[in-house]
């Protein structure tokens, strides 16, 4: 349920943002509010992780998994980007 509400709010936000696109002061305020809500949420995530013994005790395993997932995401993206660049971009834009 939460995810549907979140996606809906996101879509409504985009529409409202479009209406507010010429209000520079409001836009700046919104960006500041985004930054602070991210801080708040990461702080709260920190707390709930901190009281979760299972995560705290397995932090090195979690870091190991994160490292390899990053490697996979980066390697996959770069290799496909290399193909796409050669087949679709290189010939048009440069020698």
């Amino acid at each position: 349920m939460t995810s549907y509400i979140v996606i809906a709010l996101f879509a409504v936000g985009i529409a409202i943002g479009w209406l507010l696109r010429d209000k520079d002061k409001t836009r700046k305020g919104v960006d500041t509010a985004v930054t602070w809500s991210v801080y708040l949420l990461l702080f709260l995530l920190g707390i709930s992780v901190g009281i979760n013994k299972e995560i705290v005790n397995n932090f090195s395993r979690i870091g190991y998994q994160a490292f390899w997932l990053t490697f996979g995401a980066v390697a996959g993206s770069v290799l496909i980007a290399w193909l796409v660049y050669h087949f679709f971009f290189k010939t048009d834009n440069e020698e």
């Binding site: 979140v6 709010l9 960006d31 709260l44 920190g46 996979g72 995401a73």
Partner: protein, 201 residues
């Protein structure tokens, strides 16, 4: 970079306080996080919707550029899916959800910890921060060996802001617009793809 350090600091303060039990119980209320997430997503929506640059850029591009965010999506999901076969306690669904963060660590970690588990949320946080750091440090080498889209591809969602300067510096101004375009599309897709992967597969 400075932004990610501040965010990590907030996470670390919460983490240490949690470990040593320094915070009152009401802060641990799940509902608080949920409502904060509602507010955040609404605000992120407004921020993206009001970005005049985005629409201006769209008009200047040809159809081919949609291949760039598509590259990042396929590459990240495929790469993390393959890695999941090698990791014992992460399945394909969890791995690709982390991959679908595309470097947008703040939002993806919050989302994943809400929809799935805090442990996977922390993995997403670390993994997507690593992705940003690798991009900031690695773009010169990656571009040299894998072509001019490599920096935009590793940057993922961050190619529109935090990693844009290094991408432009090492691939040229003409790729700056493509980087912003790809970053915007991926930023919008992060919450959607993460939800689809975790809830519907």
């Amino acid at each position: 970079m400075k932004g990610s350090l501040i965010i990590l600091a907030f996470f670390a303060v919460g983490l240490l306080g949690g470990i040593y039990g320094l915070f009152p119980d009401w802060l641990l209320n799940e509902d608080l996080t949920t409502y904060a997430l509602f507010v955040l997503m609404f605000l992120v929506g407004i921020s993206i919707g009001s970005d005049k640059n985005a629409f201006y850029i769209l008009r200047k591009l040809n159809f081919k550029v949609v291949l760039v965010p598509l590259t990042v999506i396929i590459g990240s999901l495929l790469g993390t899916a393959i890695i999941s076969l090698m990791l014992a306690d992460i399945d394909i669904k969890e791995a690709t959800a982390v991959g679908a963060g595309f470097g947008y660590y703040s939002l993806s970690s919050i989302f994943i910890s809400q929809l799935h588990s805090q442990e996977l949320g922390v993995i997403a946080l670390l993994s997507n921060i690593f992705r940003e750091i690798i991009t900031l440090l690695g773009v010169p080498i990656l571009v040299k060996y894998f072509g001019k889209l490599a920096g935009i591809a590793t940057g993922g969602a961050t190619a529109m802001d935090t990693t844009l300067p290094v991408i432009v510096k090492f691939t040229g101004k003409e790729y700056g617009i493509i980087a912003i375009f790809s970053g915007i599309i991926l930023t919008i897709l992060v919450p959607i793809l993460v939800t689809v992967i975790l809830e519907f597969s």
